[in-house]
């Protein structure tokens, strides 16, 4: 038995080293299949859920649409400037992501306000500047209130709505939603957790490699 222990140990180490951090990321949402003709043969193609088209305005009054994110991976999140609860923690974590990918033209960060009446474009500009954002890669978006809430629910599987029982008057999820170059959601991470945001950044690296 004693002779077996080193062998078992070596096998275990071998097994561990065969595991890798690299893995394929899931694709969120419902999917449909469709029969298409390829080279004269009928094949079944899978259609994945994608983030719907959108039109918002950023902190510099520039219009931001699906064309802005075309060919890039991006993270979406929801906040409001006067939020006294989870937003500052989320923004601290988003600063980590921004610092890591600053200057990478394949990555965008889109923070959507859920309080567009209070969070004016001027206020968002100040907010962005104070967080150290250049305003181009990490943008702060506003728009029609219902359009933002619909986008949260339908596009990003997130919650955002007024709630008078919550501090600040709104309830929203603290998720960071990772979207790929084809506008498919590939991961949802707790933006208030340092560990989960570290995980998110590893997954962003995987997604960036997917597109190389």
């Amino acid at each position: 038995m004693k002779k077996l222990i080193p062998i078992l140990f070596i096998s275990f180490v071998g097994l561990l080293s065969s595991c890798s951090d690299e893995h394929n990321l899931p694709i969120y949402g419902n999917r449909e299949t469709k029969e298409v003709m390829v080279d004269g043969k009928t094949v079944v193609d899978t259609i994945y859920a994608t983030v719907p088209d959108f039109t918002f305005v950023n902190q510099d009054s520039f219009v931001v649409t699906q064309e802005t994110v075309k060919g890039k991976i991006y993270i979406a999140d929801f906040f409001f400037a006067s939020c006294p609860t989870i937003c500052p923690i989320m923004k601290k974590q988003m600063i980590r992501v921004y610092e890591k990918y600053k200057g990478n033209s394949n990555v965008l960060l889109l923070s959507h306000t859920i309080d567009p009446e209070h969070d004016t474009i001027a206020l968002l500009k100040d907010y962005a500047t104070r967080l150290g954002s250049d305003g181009k890669q990490w943008m702060f978006l506003t728009g029609d209130r219902e359009a933002i809430y619909d986008m949260a629910a339908q596009g990003y599987y997130a919650t955002a709505m007024p709630d008078s029982t919550e501090p600040g008057g709104y309830v929203h999820s603290g998720g960071f939603i990772l979207v790929d170059t084809q506008r498919r959601v590939r991961g949802i991470y707790n933006g208030t957790s340092e560990d989960e945001v570290t995980h998110l950044m590893k997954d962003m690296d995987i997604l960036l490699k997917e597109n190389e």
Partner: protein
């Protein structure tokens, strides 16, 4: 060995006066209140958030306004302030629902933890501040 350790602990505890023990208990309670109501924005270490939320750690504003701390927490504040040479203008919401003890203890904790040199307020001063804020509300 365990006996020696217990004896050492007993001697250590015995060396604290009653008032010191009460003070330690209040600061520890204040730390819990801070964690619940303040740390989201000002962070556990009091470092604040970039140029958006001012730091408490080594803050000249805190040092110069230590007598107003209880009321700042109780009532919140609006308008531009300058902290360690940087301007901040995000409104701080009032912390609702604190008891007088919670307010007093969180003030004790903040003034003990974050200034370069801890700021000591007497029990009487602190409770007078807290009473004033509660009356004002």
């Amino acid at each position: 060995m365990n006996k020696v350790y217990c004896l050492f602990l007993l001697v250590l505890l015995g060396s604290c006066s009653d008032s010191e023990l009460i003070g330690m208990k209040q600061i520890s309670h204040g730390a819990q209140v801070y964690k619940t109501h303040c740390a989201n924005c000002h962070q556990d270490d009091g470092s604040g958030l970039a140029q958006l939320i001012p730091p408490l750690k080594h803050s000249d504003y805190l040092k110069n306004h230590s007598n107003e701390l209880a009321c700042l927490i109780q009532n919140g504040m609006k308008g531009k302030i300058t902290v360690n040479g940087s301007d901040y203008q995000l409104a701080m919401p009032a912390v609702n629902g604190l008891t007088k003890d919670e307010l007093a203890d969180v003030c004790l904790y903040v003034l003990q933890k974050f200034p370069e040199t801890p700021i000591q307020l007497s029990e009487a001063e602190l409770h007078s501040q807290v009473d004033t804020c509660f009356k004002a509300k």
